[in-house]
């Protein structure tokens, strides 16, 4: 299992944004993975972001239970409860029992791959201008603006902007693959 992130709890509880950033960088992948069974019924990205925000709000009241990954387990529980609340709020039909099942324990997650980082930066540098600009606009917006706004700012039609995003990820995946880095097939979709 991965490094226990609970050593960051005290700093996060004291409002240390840097400590929370470190926690987010490691906790995001297992937290997102815990929501996979909700993917068809709620917008898991919104649930994930809301769960992370709530962890920031409740960290000062977090009480460890002596087991590792306590804050991450709390985040998984919060995310699950948010997903179920959202599901009940938006659906008239009963919720399938497998979705309501107990939350899973966080599973092991892959730490950042230094090889991926090194090669990816090279591949990113080598992207053609338009795909690189579109991807850069997305990253710079930090999730604050919809693609329509980013496209408009770049004087592109929305479809052209999206085609450039698609092209950027496919080119990055192809370049990584060429350098022997295993890539998620979704990047080529």
């Amino acid at each position: 299992m991965n490094e226990d992130l609970d050593f960051l709890v005290i700093a996060i509880a004291q409002g240390d944004v840097h400590a929370f950033s470190r926690w987010l960088a490691s906790a995001e992948a297992p937290l997102r993975a815990s929501l996979v069974r909700f993917a068809t019924v709620v917008d898991t990205e919104a649930v994930l972001q809301e769960a992370m925000l709530r962890i920031w709000s409740v960290a000062s009241r977090f009480e460890p239970d002596g087991r590792p990954h306590g804050l991450l387990r709390l985040a998984v529980r919060i995310a699950r409860n948010l997903a179920i609340s959202e599901l009940r709020r938006t659906r008239a039909t009963p919720v399938a029992s497998e979705i309501l099942a107990e939350e899973p324990e966080p599973t092991a997650w892959a730490p950042p791959d230094p090889m991926l980082q090194k090669v990816l930066r090279k591949c990113h540098e080598a992207l053609p201008d338009k795909p690189k600009e579109a991807l850069g606009a997305r990253l710079a917006s930090q999730g604050a603006e919809p693609d329509e706004v980013l496209a408009h700012r770049m004087q592109m039609r929305l479809n052209t902007f999206l085609q450039n995003i698609t092209r950027a990820r496919r080119l990055l995946a192809g370049c990584l693959s060429k350098h022997g880095v295993q890539v998620d097939p979704e990047l080529l979709s």
Binding site: V17, F20, Q49, L53, L116, Q117, L120, H124, G143
Partner: protein, 81 residues
């Protein structure tokens, strides 16, 4: 850049929607972060594709970020309350 071979794709009418929903953009409502408006227009298959694409994209974004943060993490940090 020598462009790597990219397998031919069969366009799916949901592709532009999936691409948008896979981004980290989510509107902020007064009390919570809301679903992407387009998420509701996706089929179940499209929603799974968006989930999987977002998972893969965040890994790339984090690897490109000097602090290892994805656009999801950056969105959260910009909204701390």
């Amino acid at each position: 850049m020598t462009q790597p071979p990219i397998p031919p794709q069969t366009p799916d009418p949901e592709d532009p929607l999936v691409e948008q929903v896979a981004s980290a953009y989510r509107p902020m409502h007064p009390t919570r972060i809301a679903a992407h408006p387009i998420w509701h227009d996706l089929s179940a298959h499209g929603r799974v594709r968006a989930f999987e694409l977002a998972t893969a994209l965040r890994k790339v974004e984090a690897a490109l970020d000097p602090e290892g943060l994805s656009s999801t993490a950056r969105a959260v940090l910009s909204r701390l309350r």
